[in-house]
Protein backbone atom coordinates (compact mmCIF):
# COMPACT_ATOMS: atom_id res chain seq x y z
CA UNK A 1 0.00 0.00 0.00
CA UNK A 2 2.95 2.29 0.60
CA UNK A 3 4.20 1.87 -2.92
CA UNK A 4 1.30 3.80 -4.44
CA UNK A 5 2.37 6.95 -2.65
CA UNK A 6 5.85 6.65 -4.16
CA UNK A 7 4.37 6.63 -7.63
CA UNK A 8 3.20 10.18 -8.24
CA UNK A 9 3.02 11.19 -11.87
CA UNK A 10 5.87 13.64 -11.96
CA UNK A 11 6.17 13.47 -15.70
CA UNK A 12 3.22 15.69 -16.58
CA UNK A 13 2.72 15.76 -20.31
CA UNK A 14 1.72 18.98 -22.08
CA UNK A 15 -2.01 18.26 -22.58
CA UNK A 16 -2.12 17.29 -18.93
CA UNK A 17 -5.74 18.10 -18.27
CA UNK A 18 -7.03 16.10 -21.22
CA UNK A 19 -4.72 13.24 -20.40
CA UNK A 20 -5.79 12.95 -16.77
CA UNK A 21 -9.42 13.14 -17.89
CA UNK A 22 -8.91 10.19 -20.20
CA UNK A 23 -6.98 8.35 -17.51
CA UNK A 24 -9.69 8.88 -14.93
CA UNK A 25 -12.31 7.43 -17.23
CA UNK A 26 -10.07 4.56 -18.25
CA UNK A 27 -9.52 3.79 -14.56
CA UNK A 28 -13.27 3.76 -13.95
CA UNK A 29 -13.87 1.36 -16.81
CA UNK A 30 -10.96 -0.85 -15.74
CA UNK A 31 -12.17 -1.02 -12.16
CA UNK A 32 -15.82 -1.56 -13.00
CA UNK A 33 -15.87 -5.38 -13.30
CA UNK A 34 -13.96 -5.93 -10.08
CA UNK A 35 -15.49 -3.16 -7.97
CA UNK A 36 -19.07 -3.65 -9.12
CA UNK A 37 -18.71 -7.41 -8.82
CA UNK A 38 -17.42 -7.11 -5.29
CA UNK A 39 -20.16 -4.65 -4.36
CA UNK A 40 -22.76 -7.11 -5.62
CA UNK A 41 -21.28 -10.42 -4.48
CA UNK A 42 -19.35 -9.45 -1.34
CA UNK A 43 -20.36 -6.12 0.22
CA UNK A 44 -24.09 -6.40 -0.41
CA UNK A 45 -24.13 -9.97 1.00
CA UNK A 46 -22.19 -8.85 4.10
CA UNK A 47 -24.76 -6.14 4.78
CA UNK A 48 -27.56 -8.61 4.06
CA UNK A 49 -25.95 -11.09 6.47
CA UNK A 50 -25.73 -8.41 9.16
CA UNK A 51 -29.43 -7.65 8.76
CA UNK A 52 -30.51 -11.26 8.34
CA UNK A 53 -28.79 -12.25 11.58
CA UNK A 54 -31.50 -10.34 13.47
CA UNK A 55 -34.39 -11.99 11.66
CA UNK A 56 -36.02 -15.37 11.56
CA UNK A 57 -36.57 -16.31 7.94
CA UNK A 58 -37.27 -19.56 6.13
CA UNK A 59 -37.61 -18.00 2.62
CA UNK A 60 -41.28 -19.07 2.48
CA UNK A 61 -42.91 -16.85 5.09
CA UNK A 62 -42.12 -13.17 5.70
CA UNK A 63 -38.98 -12.38 7.73
CA UNK A 64 -39.64 -11.77 11.39
CA UNK A 65 -37.48 -9.48 13.54
CA UNK A 66 -36.14 -11.41 16.55
CA UNK A 67 -33.43 -9.10 17.92
CA UNK A 68 -30.46 -10.97 19.33
CA UNK A 69 -32.36 -14.26 19.57
CA UNK A 70 -30.26 -15.86 16.83
CA UNK A 71 -27.05 -14.98 18.65
CA UNK A 72 -28.50 -16.09 21.98
CA UNK A 73 -29.45 -19.43 20.45
CA UNK A 74 -25.78 -19.93 19.58
CA UNK A 75 -24.98 -20.04 23.27
CA UNK A 76 -27.90 -22.33 24.04
CA UNK A 77 -28.10 -24.61 21.00
CA UNK A 78 -25.97 -27.65 21.98
CA UNK A 79 -25.15 -28.50 18.35
CA UNK A 80 -23.85 -25.00 17.65
CA UNK A 81 -21.86 -24.94 20.85
CA UNK A 82 -20.31 -28.34 20.21
CA UNK A 83 -19.52 -27.40 16.63
CA UNK A 84 -17.61 -24.29 17.69
CA UNK A 85 -15.78 -26.26 20.35
CA UNK A 86 -14.94 -28.94 17.76
CA UNK A 87 -13.72 -26.27 15.36
CA UNK A 88 -11.43 -24.69 17.93
CA UNK A 89 -9.97 -28.03 19.04
CA UNK A 90 -9.55 -28.95 15.37
CA UNK A 91 -7.79 -25.66 14.58
CA UNK A 92 -5.36 -25.99 17.48
CA UNK A 93 -4.36 -29.58 16.76
CA UNK A 94 -4.38 -29.35 12.97
CA UNK A 95 -2.40 -26.10 12.86
CA UNK A 96 0.25 -27.32 15.30
CA UNK A 97 0.65 -30.57 13.35
CA UNK A 98 0.65 -28.81 10.00
CA UNK A 99 3.25 -26.23 11.00
CA UNK A 100 5.39 -28.73 12.88
CA UNK A 101 5.52 -31.22 10.02
CA UNK A 102 6.06 -28.45 7.47
CA UNK A 103 8.88 -26.80 9.41
CA UNK A 104 10.54 -30.13 10.17
CA UNK A 105 10.49 -31.25 6.55
CA UNK A 106 11.54 -27.85 5.19
CA UNK A 107 14.53 -27.79 7.57
CA UNK A 108 15.52 -31.32 6.63
CA UNK A 109 15.50 -30.31 2.99
CA UNK A 110 18.14 -27.65 3.73
CA UNK A 111 20.77 -30.34 4.34
CA UNK A 112 23.16 -31.36 1.60
CA UNK A 113 21.52 -33.83 -0.79
CA UNK A 114 21.39 -34.52 -4.52
CA UNK A 115 19.33 -31.84 -6.22
CA UNK A 116 17.07 -34.36 -7.99
CA UNK A 117 16.14 -35.72 -4.58
CA UNK A 118 15.37 -32.26 -3.27
CA UNK A 119 13.18 -31.49 -6.29
CA UNK A 120 11.44 -34.85 -5.96
CA UNK A 121 10.70 -34.36 -2.27
CA UNK A 122 9.53 -30.79 -2.76
CA UNK A 123 7.15 -31.89 -5.52
CA UNK A 124 5.93 -34.80 -3.43
CA UNK A 125 5.04 -32.67 -0.42
CA UNK A 126 3.44 -30.09 -2.69
CA UNK A 127 1.35 -32.60 -4.64
CA UNK A 128 -1.67 -32.98 -2.28
CA UNK A 129 -2.30 -29.24 -2.71
CA UNK A 130 -3.44 -29.69 -6.31
CA UNK A 131 -6.04 -32.31 -5.37
CA UNK A 132 -9.59 -31.54 -4.37
CA UNK A 133 -10.41 -31.93 -0.69
CA UNK A 134 -13.58 -33.78 -1.68
CA UNK A 135 -11.68 -36.37 -3.78
CA UNK A 136 -9.05 -36.80 -1.08
CA UNK A 137 -11.76 -37.36 1.50
CA UNK A 138 -13.41 -39.93 -0.78
CA UNK A 139 -10.36 -42.18 -1.00
CA UNK A 140 -9.33 -41.55 2.58
CA UNK A 141 -12.76 -42.70 3.70
CA UNK A 142 -12.10 -46.05 2.04
CA UNK A 143 -8.59 -46.20 3.47
CA UNK A 144 -9.86 -45.66 7.00
CA UNK A 145 -12.68 -48.22 6.64
CA UNK A 146 -12.75 -50.47 9.67
CA UNK A 147 -13.04 -53.82 7.87
CA UNK A 148 -11.23 -53.54 4.56
CA UNK A 149 -9.36 -50.26 5.00
CA UNK A 150 -5.67 -50.20 4.22
CA UNK A 151 -4.88 -48.30 7.44
CA UNK A 152 -6.22 -51.04 9.70
CA UNK A 153 -4.54 -53.64 7.49
CA UNK A 154 -1.18 -51.91 8.02
CA UNK A 155 -1.84 -51.70 11.76
CA UNK A 156 -2.71 -55.40 11.85
CA UNK A 157 0.74 -56.17 10.43
CA UNK A 158 2.26 -54.80 13.63
CA UNK A 159 -0.35 -56.48 15.79
CA UNK A 160 -2.63 -53.52 16.50
CA UNK A 161 -6.32 -54.53 16.54
CA UNK A 162 -8.74 -52.82 14.12
CA UNK A 163 -9.57 -49.22 15.05
CA UNK A 164 -13.17 -48.08 14.36
CA UNK A 165 -11.82 -44.97 12.60
CA UNK A 166 -15.08 -43.53 11.33
CA UNK A 167 -17.51 -44.80 13.95
CA UNK A 168 -15.80 -43.80 17.18
CA UNK A 169 -16.12 -40.10 18.16
CA UNK A 170 -12.44 -39.62 19.06
CA UNK A 171 -11.03 -41.67 16.19
CA UNK A 172 -13.22 -39.95 13.60
CA UNK A 173 -12.11 -36.54 14.85
CA UNK A 174 -8.52 -37.76 14.52
CA UNK A 175 -9.20 -38.91 10.95
CA UNK A 176 -10.56 -35.49 9.98
CA UNK A 177 -7.43 -33.85 11.43
CA UNK A 178 -5.09 -36.32 9.69
CA UNK A 179 -6.76 -36.03 6.31
CA UNK A 180 -6.81 -32.23 6.55
CA UNK A 181 -3.16 -32.03 7.59
CA UNK A 182 -2.16 -34.56 4.91
CA UNK A 183 -3.52 -32.27 2.25
CA UNK A 184 -2.48 -28.90 3.66
CA UNK A 185 0.95 -29.24 5.26
CA UNK A 186 2.49 -28.68 1.82
CA UNK A 187 1.36 -25.06 1.82
CA UNK A 188 3.15 -24.19 5.07
CA UNK A 189 6.06 -26.31 3.84
CA UNK A 190 6.43 -24.10 0.76
CA UNK A 191 6.38 -20.94 2.88
CA UNK A 192 9.01 -22.29 5.26
CA UNK A 193 11.14 -23.62 2.42
CA UNK A 194 11.21 -20.15 0.83
CA UNK A 195 12.11 -18.47 4.12
CA UNK A 196 14.82 -20.99 4.99
CA UNK A 197 16.40 -20.81 1.55
CA UNK A 198 16.61 -17.03 1.90
CA UNK A 199 18.74 -17.16 5.04
CA UNK A 200 22.28 -16.15 4.05
CA UNK A 201 24.71 -19.07 4.32
CA UNK A 202 27.21 -16.91 6.24
CA UNK A 203 24.88 -16.81 9.23
CA UNK A 204 24.91 -20.59 9.51
CA UNK A 205 28.67 -20.65 9.02
CA UNK A 206 29.12 -18.03 11.75
CA UNK A 207 26.88 -20.03 14.07
CA UNK A 208 28.91 -23.17 13.33
CA UNK A 209 32.13 -21.36 14.19
CA UNK A 210 30.56 -20.21 17.43
CA UNK A 211 29.79 -23.84 18.23
CA UNK A 212 26.04 -23.50 17.84
CA UNK A 213 25.00 -26.58 15.91
CA UNK A 214 21.95 -28.75 15.54
CA UNK A 215 19.03 -27.82 17.74
CA UNK A 216 20.87 -24.87 19.30
CA UNK A 217 21.51 -23.31 15.92
CA UNK A 218 17.96 -23.96 14.85
CA UNK A 219 16.35 -22.36 17.91
CA UNK A 220 18.77 -19.45 18.32
CA UNK A 221 19.61 -18.54 14.73
CA UNK A 222 17.21 -20.10 12.24
CA UNK A 223 13.93 -19.72 14.07
CA UNK A 224 14.30 -16.00 14.91
CA UNK A 225 15.27 -15.31 11.29
CA UNK A 226 12.17 -16.98 9.88
CA UNK A 227 9.83 -15.79 12.64
CA UNK A 228 7.96 -13.41 10.29
CA UNK A 229 7.19 -16.40 8.05
CA UNK A 230 6.21 -18.52 11.04
CA UNK A 231 3.73 -15.82 11.99
CA UNK A 232 2.25 -15.51 8.49
CA UNK A 233 2.11 -19.27 8.03
CA UNK A 234 0.37 -19.70 11.39
CA UNK A 235 -2.24 -17.05 10.65
CA UNK A 236 -2.96 -18.41 7.17
CA UNK A 237 -3.21 -21.95 8.56
CA UNK A 238 -5.53 -20.85 11.38
CA UNK A 239 -7.83 -18.92 9.05
CA UNK A 240 -8.18 -21.76 6.59
CA UNK A 241 -8.62 -24.37 9.35
CA UNK A 242 -11.39 -22.29 10.92
CA UNK A 243 -13.33 -22.75 7.67
CA UNK A 244 -12.94 -26.54 7.46
CA UNK A 245 -15.92 -28.15 5.74
CA UNK A 246 -15.15 -30.51 2.84
CA UNK A 247 -13.27 -33.13 4.87
CA UNK A 248 -15.76 -33.62 7.73
CA UNK A 249 -18.70 -33.37 5.31
CA UNK A 250 -17.43 -36.17 3.08
CA UNK A 251 -15.61 -38.30 5.67
CA UNK A 252 -18.10 -38.38 8.52
CA UNK A 253 -20.91 -35.91 7.75
CA UNK A 254 -20.31 -34.50 11.23
CA UNK A 255 -20.81 -37.79 13.02
CA UNK A 256 -20.88 -39.98 14.86
CA UNK A 257 -23.26 -37.81 16.84
CA UNK A 258 -21.86 -34.29 16.60
CA UNK A 259 -18.27 -35.35 17.20
CA UNK A 260 -16.88 -34.00 13.91
CA UNK A 261 -19.44 -31.28 13.19
CA UNK A 262 -17.69 -27.96 12.49
CA UNK A 263 -18.92 -24.37 12.53
CA UNK A 264 -19.19 -24.16 8.74
CA UNK A 265 -21.11 -27.46 8.62
CA UNK A 266 -23.66 -25.94 11.00
CA UNK A 267 -23.92 -22.84 8.78
CA UNK A 268 -24.63 -25.13 5.83
CA UNK A 269 -27.14 -27.27 7.71
CA UNK A 270 -28.95 -24.35 9.36
CA UNK A 271 -29.39 -22.56 6.06
CA UNK A 272 -29.92 -25.24 3.48
CA UNK A 273 -31.40 -28.12 5.45
CA UNK A 274 -33.32 -26.45 8.29
CA UNK A 275 -34.04 -23.25 6.33
CA UNK A 276 -33.02 -21.09 9.29
CA UNK A 277 -31.26 -18.39 7.32
CA UNK A 278 -31.07 -15.92 10.21
CA UNK A 279 -29.35 -18.43 12.44
CA UNK A 280 -26.93 -19.36 9.66
CA UNK A 281 -26.05 -15.69 9.17
CA UNK A 282 -25.47 -15.21 12.89
CA UNK A 283 -23.09 -18.19 13.01
CA UNK A 284 -21.34 -16.89 9.90
CA UNK A 285 -20.82 -13.49 11.51
CA UNK A 286 -19.35 -15.03 14.66
CA UNK A 287 -16.95 -16.99 12.45
CA UNK A 288 -16.00 -13.82 10.57
CA UNK A 289 -15.31 -12.02 13.85
CA UNK A 290 -13.02 -14.90 14.86
CA UNK A 291 -11.15 -14.62 11.56
CA UNK A 292 -10.86 -10.84 11.87
CA UNK A 293 -9.55 -11.26 15.42
CA UNK A 294 -6.83 -13.63 14.19
CA UNK A 295 -5.91 -11.16 11.43
CA UNK A 296 -5.81 -8.26 13.91
CA UNK A 297 -3.57 -10.33 16.16
CA UNK A 298 -1.25 -10.88 13.22
CA UNK A 299 -0.94 -7.15 12.58
CA UNK A 300 -0.22 -6.50 16.23
CA UNK A 301 2.35 -9.28 16.50
CA UNK A 302 4.01 -8.47 13.20
CA UNK A 303 5.01 -5.04 14.52
CA UNK A 304 7.33 -6.80 16.94
CA UNK A 305 8.89 -8.75 14.09
CA UNK A 306 9.51 -5.80 11.82
CA UNK A 307 13.08 -5.73 13.11
CA UNK A 308 13.82 -8.99 11.37
CA UNK A 309 12.39 -8.01 8.00
Amino acid sequence: MTTTSTLPRQTVKPPAARRSFVERWLARIFLAPTVLGMALFTFLPIIASLVLAFFRWDIISAPQFVGFANFASLAQDPTVRVSFLNTIVFVVIAVILQLGIALGLASMLQARMPSWLRVFLRSTFFFPLVLSAASVSIFMRYMFNEQFGVVNWLLSLVGIPAVPWLTSPTASAAVVVLVYVWQNFGFSFLLFLGALTNIPKELHEAANLDGATGWKQFSNVTLPLISPTVLVASVMAIISALQVFDQPYVLTNGGPGDSTRTAVMVIFESAFQQLEFGKASAIGLVLTVLILAVTALQFRLSRRFVFYQ
Binding site: L7, I29, Q243
Partner: protein
Protein backbone atom coordinates in the same frame (compact mmCIF):
# COMPACT_ATOMS: atom_id res chain seq x y z
CA UNK B 1 23.95 -12.87 19.76
CA UNK B 2 26.18 -11.62 22.56
CA UNK B 3 24.90 -14.13 25.06
CA UNK B 4 25.46 -16.84 22.53
CA UNK B 5 29.11 -16.04 21.95
CA UNK B 6 29.52 -15.89 25.71
CA UNK B 7 28.13 -19.38 26.06
CA UNK B 8 30.37 -20.84 23.42
CA UNK B 9 33.28 -19.04 25.02
CA UNK B 10 32.74 -20.91 28.26
CA UNK B 11 32.17 -24.08 26.27
CA UNK B 12 35.62 -23.81 24.78
CA UNK B 13 37.13 -23.34 28.19
CA UNK B 14 35.37 -26.34 29.62
CA UNK B 15 36.53 -28.43 26.67
CA UNK B 16 40.09 -29.18 27.82
CA UNK B 17 39.06 -29.67 31.46
CA UNK B 18 36.78 -32.60 30.69
CA UNK B 19 39.46 -35.15 30.07
CA UNK B 20 38.35 -36.85 26.89
CA UNK B 21 41.07 -38.66 25.00
CA UNK B 22 42.09 -36.72 21.93
CA UNK B 23 41.39 -39.68 19.69
CA UNK B 24 37.79 -40.04 20.83
CA UNK B 25 36.71 -36.58 19.75
CA UNK B 26 37.08 -36.70 15.98
CA UNK B 27 35.43 -40.11 15.89
CA UNK B 28 32.43 -38.78 17.76
CA UNK B 29 32.28 -35.77 15.50
CA UNK B 30 32.35 -38.00 12.47
CA UNK B 31 29.70 -40.38 13.76
CA UNK B 32 27.13 -37.88 14.95
CA UNK B 33 26.37 -36.28 11.58
CA UNK B 34 26.20 -39.76 10.05
CA UNK B 35 23.52 -40.77 12.53
CA UNK B 36 21.77 -37.46 11.91
CA UNK B 37 21.88 -38.00 8.18
CA UNK B 38 20.44 -41.49 8.45
CA UNK B 39 17.67 -40.22 10.72
CA UNK B 40 16.93 -37.35 8.35
CA UNK B 41 16.73 -39.60 5.30
CA UNK B 42 14.55 -42.03 7.22
CA UNK B 43 12.17 -39.24 8.27
CA UNK B 44 12.02 -37.84 4.74
CA UNK B 45 11.41 -41.30 3.30
CA UNK B 46 8.56 -41.94 5.74
CA UNK B 47 7.03 -38.52 4.96
CA UNK B 48 7.30 -39.12 1.22
CA UNK B 49 5.78 -42.61 1.56
CA UNK B 50 2.89 -41.27 3.65
CA UNK B 51 2.27 -38.53 1.10
CA UNK B 52 2.45 -40.67 -2.04
CA UNK B 53 1.09 -43.90 -0.54
CA UNK B 54 -2.59 -42.90 -0.50
CA UNK B 55 -2.38 -41.65 -4.09
CA UNK B 56 -0.64 -44.83 -5.28
CA UNK B 57 -3.20 -46.94 -3.42
CA UNK B 58 -6.00 -44.99 -5.11
CA UNK B 59 -4.45 -45.47 -8.54
CA UNK B 60 -3.76 -49.18 -8.18
CA UNK B 61 -7.10 -49.92 -6.53
CA UNK B 62 -8.91 -48.14 -9.36
CA UNK B 63 -7.14 -50.62 -11.65
CA UNK B 64 -8.47 -53.69 -9.83
CA UNK B 65 -11.75 -55.32 -10.82
CA UNK B 66 -14.69 -53.90 -8.84
CA UNK B 67 -15.40 -57.25 -7.19
CA UNK B 68 -11.93 -57.66 -5.71
CA UNK B 69 -11.22 -53.98 -5.12
CA UNK B 70 -11.71 -54.25 -1.37
CA UNK B 71 -9.82 -57.51 -0.95
CA UNK B 72 -6.86 -57.51 1.39
CA UNK B 73 -3.94 -57.30 1.10
CA UNK B 74 -4.28 -53.94 -0.67
CA UNK B 75 -2.31 -53.15 -3.79
CA UNK B 76 0.00 -50.19 -4.03
CA UNK B 77 1.37 -50.86 -7.48
CA UNK B 78 -0.77 -51.26 -10.58
CA UNK B 79 0.35 -54.73 -11.64
CA UNK B 80 -2.08 -56.45 -14.03
CA UNK B 81 -4.20 -53.32 -14.53
CA UNK B 82 -7.88 -53.93 -15.18
CA UNK B 83 -9.96 -51.16 -16.69
CA UNK B 84 -13.42 -52.47 -15.82
CA UNK B 85 -13.85 -49.79 -13.15
CA UNK B 86 -13.14 -47.06 -15.68
CA UNK B 87 -15.79 -48.42 -18.04
CA UNK B 88 -18.19 -48.84 -15.14
CA UNK B 89 -17.81 -45.27 -13.84
CA UNK B 90 -18.89 -43.94 -17.24
CA UNK B 91 -22.03 -46.08 -16.96
CA UNK B 92 -22.80 -44.97 -13.41
CA UNK B 93 -22.50 -41.21 -13.90
CA UNK B 94 -22.27 -38.79 -16.79
CA UNK B 95 -18.53 -38.38 -16.48
CA UNK B 96 -18.45 -36.47 -19.74
CA UNK B 97 -21.05 -33.97 -18.54
CA UNK B 98 -19.32 -33.54 -15.17
CA UNK B 99 -16.01 -32.88 -16.90
CA UNK B 100 -17.67 -30.46 -19.29
CA UNK B 101 -19.35 -28.58 -16.42
CA UNK B 102 -16.17 -28.43 -14.39
CA UNK B 103 -14.17 -27.31 -17.41
CA UNK B 104 -16.71 -24.63 -18.34
CA UNK B 105 -17.00 -23.29 -14.80
CA UNK B 106 -13.27 -23.41 -14.10
CA UNK B 107 -12.26 -22.10 -17.50
CA UNK B 108 -14.65 -19.16 -17.48
CA UNK B 109 -13.77 -18.23 -13.90
CA UNK B 110 -10.05 -18.38 -14.70
CA UNK B 111 -10.53 -16.30 -17.84
CA UNK B 112 -12.79 -13.81 -16.06
CA UNK B 113 -10.39 -13.45 -13.17
CA UNK B 114 -7.42 -12.94 -15.46
CA UNK B 115 -9.24 -10.23 -17.41
CA UNK B 116 -10.81 -8.37 -14.48
CA UNK B 117 -7.70 -8.62 -12.30
CA UNK B 118 -5.46 -7.37 -15.12
CA UNK B 119 -7.70 -4.35 -15.72
CA UNK B 120 -8.12 -3.49 -12.03
CA UNK B 121 -4.51 -4.25 -11.15
CA UNK B 122 -3.34 -1.94 -13.93
CA UNK B 123 -5.67 0.83 -12.76
CA UNK B 124 -4.36 0.56 -9.19
CA UNK B 125 -0.73 0.41 -10.29
CA UNK B 126 -0.46 2.83 -13.17
CA UNK B 127 -3.51 5.09 -13.48
CA UNK B 128 -4.42 8.19 -11.52
CA UNK B 129 -7.85 8.57 -10.02
CA UNK B 130 -9.45 9.82 -6.85
CA UNK B 131 -9.53 7.79 -3.60
CA UNK B 132 -7.33 5.10 -5.14
CA UNK B 133 -5.94 3.91 -1.80
CA UNK B 134 -9.35 3.76 -0.16
CA UNK B 135 -10.79 1.67 -2.99
CA UNK B 136 -7.77 -0.60 -2.98
CA UNK B 137 -8.12 -1.15 0.77
CA UNK B 138 -11.75 -2.09 0.30
CA UNK B 139 -10.82 -4.57 -2.42
CA UNK B 140 -8.17 -6.13 -0.17
CA UNK B 141 -10.60 -6.26 2.75
CA UNK B 142 -12.80 -8.70 0.85
CA UNK B 143 -10.01 -11.28 1.18
CA UNK B 144 -10.80 -11.54 4.87
CA UNK B 145 -14.47 -12.36 4.32
CA UNK B 146 -14.97 -16.11 4.33
CA UNK B 147 -17.19 -17.47 1.56
CA UNK B 148 -19.39 -19.18 4.14
CA UNK B 149 -20.58 -15.81 5.43
CA UNK B 150 -21.70 -14.46 2.10
CA UNK B 151 -23.07 -17.72 0.74
CA UNK B 152 -26.63 -17.34 2.12
CA UNK B 153 -27.20 -13.85 0.63
CA UNK B 154 -25.38 -14.87 -2.57
CA UNK B 155 -27.70 -17.86 -2.84
CA UNK B 156 -30.72 -15.53 -2.56
CA UNK B 157 -29.21 -12.98 -4.94
CA UNK B 158 -28.69 -15.75 -7.49
CA UNK B 159 -32.30 -16.83 -7.05
CA UNK B 160 -33.42 -13.23 -7.46
CA UNK B 161 -31.41 -12.93 -10.68
CA UNK B 162 -33.11 -16.07 -11.98
CA UNK B 163 -29.79 -17.89 -12.17
CA UNK B 164 -30.70 -20.56 -9.65
CA UNK B 165 -29.28 -23.97 -10.54
CA UNK B 166 -27.23 -22.76 -13.51
CA UNK B 167 -23.51 -22.81 -14.12
CA UNK B 168 -23.53 -19.01 -14.20
CA UNK B 169 -24.47 -19.11 -10.51
CA UNK B 170 -21.03 -20.63 -9.89
CA UNK B 171 -19.15 -18.49 -12.37
CA UNK B 172 -20.30 -14.90 -11.89
CA UNK B 173 -19.70 -14.48 -8.13
CA UNK B 174 -16.22 -15.99 -8.44
CA UNK B 175 -14.90 -13.57 -11.06
CA UNK B 176 -14.07 -10.51 -8.93
CA UNK B 177 -10.83 -11.47 -7.25
CA UNK B 178 -9.09 -9.47 -4.55
CA UNK B 179 -6.03 -11.69 -4.54
CA UNK B 180 -5.72 -11.65 -8.32
CA UNK B 181 -6.08 -7.87 -8.39
CA UNK B 182 -3.43 -7.60 -5.69
CA UNK B 183 -1.08 -9.88 -7.66
CA UNK B 184 -1.57 -8.00 -10.93
CA UNK B 185 -1.06 -4.63 -9.20
CA UNK B 186 2.22 -5.94 -7.78
CA UNK B 187 3.16 -7.21 -11.21
CA UNK B 188 2.50 -3.88 -12.95
CA UNK B 189 4.30 -1.98 -10.19
CA UNK B 190 7.32 -4.16 -10.89
CA UNK B 191 7.44 -3.16 -14.57
CA UNK B 192 9.55 -0.10 -15.42
CA UNK B 193 7.92 3.26 -16.12
CA UNK B 194 10.20 4.02 -19.08
CA UNK B 195 8.06 2.04 -21.52
CA UNK B 196 5.03 4.19 -20.76
CA UNK B 197 7.05 7.37 -21.16
CA UNK B 198 8.56 6.24 -24.45
CA UNK B 199 5.16 5.23 -25.79
CA UNK B 200 3.62 8.51 -24.65
CA UNK B 201 6.34 10.43 -26.48
CA UNK B 202 5.42 8.48 -29.58
CA UNK B 203 1.88 9.77 -29.13
CA UNK B 204 0.24 6.70 -27.61
CA UNK B 205 -2.75 7.39 -25.37
CA UNK B 206 -3.43 5.65 -22.04
CA UNK B 207 -5.34 2.82 -23.71
CA UNK B 208 -2.63 2.14 -26.29
CA UNK B 209 -0.01 2.17 -23.54
CA UNK B 210 -2.00 -0.41 -21.61
CA UNK B 211 -2.95 -2.60 -24.56
CA UNK B 212 0.24 -2.60 -26.57
CA UNK B 213 2.95 -2.06 -23.98
CA UNK B 214 1.94 -3.42 -20.60
CA UNK B 215 -0.50 -6.26 -21.32
CA UNK B 216 2.08 -8.25 -23.31
CA UNK B 217 4.57 -7.79 -20.50
CA UNK B 218 2.05 -8.91 -17.87
CA UNK B 219 1.33 -12.33 -19.37
CA UNK B 220 3.39 -14.22 -16.72
CA UNK B 221 1.42 -12.49 -13.97
CA UNK B 222 -1.83 -13.36 -15.70
CA UNK B 223 -0.68 -16.98 -15.90
CA UNK B 224 -0.29 -17.03 -12.11
CA UNK B 225 -3.81 -15.67 -11.62
CA UNK B 226 -5.21 -18.18 -14.12
CA UNK B 227 -3.45 -21.21 -12.66
CA UNK B 228 -4.45 -20.27 -9.11
CA UNK B 229 -8.07 -19.86 -10.20
CA UNK B 230 -7.97 -23.17 -12.04
CA UNK B 231 -6.48 -25.05 -9.10
CA UNK B 232 -8.97 -23.59 -6.64
CA UNK B 233 -12.17 -23.83 -8.64
CA UNK B 234 -11.52 -27.20 -10.29
CA UNK B 235 -11.37 -28.63 -6.78
CA UNK B 236 -14.09 -26.49 -5.24
CA UNK B 237 -16.82 -28.30 -3.34
CA UNK B 238 -18.67 -25.95 -0.97
CA UNK B 239 -20.18 -23.51 -3.49
CA UNK B 240 -21.25 -26.13 -6.06
CA UNK B 241 -22.87 -28.11 -3.24
CA UNK B 242 -25.07 -25.13 -2.42
CA UNK B 243 -25.54 -23.34 -5.72
CA UNK B 244 -26.32 -26.30 -7.98
CA UNK B 245 -29.34 -28.52 -7.45
CA UNK B 246 -29.86 -30.83 -10.42
CA UNK B 247 -27.26 -33.40 -11.33
CA UNK B 248 -26.91 -32.02 -14.84
CA UNK B 249 -25.24 -28.95 -13.33
CA UNK B 250 -22.92 -30.79 -10.94
CA UNK B 251 -19.19 -30.32 -11.14
CA UNK B 252 -16.75 -33.23 -10.81
CA UNK B 253 -16.08 -33.19 -7.02
CA UNK B 254 -19.81 -32.98 -6.31
CA UNK B 255 -20.59 -35.76 -8.81
CA UNK B 256 -17.98 -38.03 -7.27
CA UNK B 257 -19.20 -37.48 -3.71
CA UNK B 258 -22.71 -38.29 -4.92
CA UNK B 259 -21.40 -41.41 -6.65
CA UNK B 260 -19.72 -42.53 -3.44
CA UNK B 261 -22.98 -41.95 -1.59
CA UNK B 262 -24.88 -44.04 -4.14
CA UNK B 263 -22.43 -46.91 -4.40
CA UNK B 264 -21.34 -46.93 -0.76
CA UNK B 265 -18.61 -49.46 -0.27
CA UNK B 266 -19.97 -51.78 -2.94
CA UNK B 267 -17.39 -51.21 -5.63
CA UNK B 268 -14.58 -49.01 -4.47
CA UNK B 269 -12.62 -49.18 -7.67
CA UNK B 270 -15.43 -47.54 -9.65
CA UNK B 271 -15.47 -44.48 -7.38
CA UNK B 272 -11.68 -44.40 -7.31
CA UNK B 273 -11.57 -44.55 -11.10
CA UNK B 274 -13.65 -41.36 -11.07
CA UNK B 275 -11.33 -39.82 -8.51
CA UNK B 276 -8.29 -40.61 -10.66
CA UNK B 277 -9.98 -39.16 -13.76
CA UNK B 278 -10.79 -35.96 -11.86
CA UNK B 279 -7.14 -35.66 -10.83
CA UNK B 280 -5.79 -35.68 -14.37
CA UNK B 281 -6.11 -31.93 -15.09
CA UNK B 282 -4.62 -31.15 -11.69
CA UNK B 283 -1.78 -33.50 -12.58
CA UNK B 284 -1.17 -31.59 -15.82
CA UNK B 285 -1.03 -28.33 -13.85
CA UNK B 286 1.28 -30.00 -11.36
CA UNK B 287 3.65 -31.25 -14.05
CA UNK B 288 3.76 -28.18 -16.26
CA UNK B 289 2.73 -25.25 -14.11
CA UNK B 290 4.16 -26.20 -10.75
CA UNK B 291 6.56 -23.28 -10.53
CA UNK B 292 3.85 -20.77 -11.45
CA UNK B 293 1.47 -22.32 -8.95
CA UNK B 294 4.10 -22.28 -6.20
CA UNK B 295 4.83 -18.61 -6.91
CA UNK B 296 1.14 -17.77 -6.78
CA UNK B 297 0.40 -19.75 -3.64
CA UNK B 298 3.25 -18.20 -1.69
CA UNK B 299 2.78 -14.69 -3.09
CA UNK B 300 0.10 -13.91 -0.53
CA UNK B 301 2.41 -14.56 2.37
CA UNK B 302 5.30 -12.39 1.25
CA UNK B 303 3.35 -9.12 1.30
Amino acid sequence: MSSQTLQTGTGKHSGPTTETPATARPRRVRRLPAAGTVGRYAALAVAAALTLGPVLWTLSTSLRTPSESFNLPPSFLPINPDFTAYQEVFKQIHVGLLVLNSALVTGLIAFGQMASATLAGYAFARLDFRSKNAIFSLVLATMMVPVQVTIVPVFMLIRGMGLSDTLLALILPAIPTAFGTFLMRQYFLGLPNDFAEAAALDGAGPWRIFRSVYVPLAVPGMAIVGILAFNFHWNEFFRPLILTISEQNFTLPLGLVTLQGNLGTGSISVVLAGVILSMLPALVVFLFGQRTLREGLTAGASK
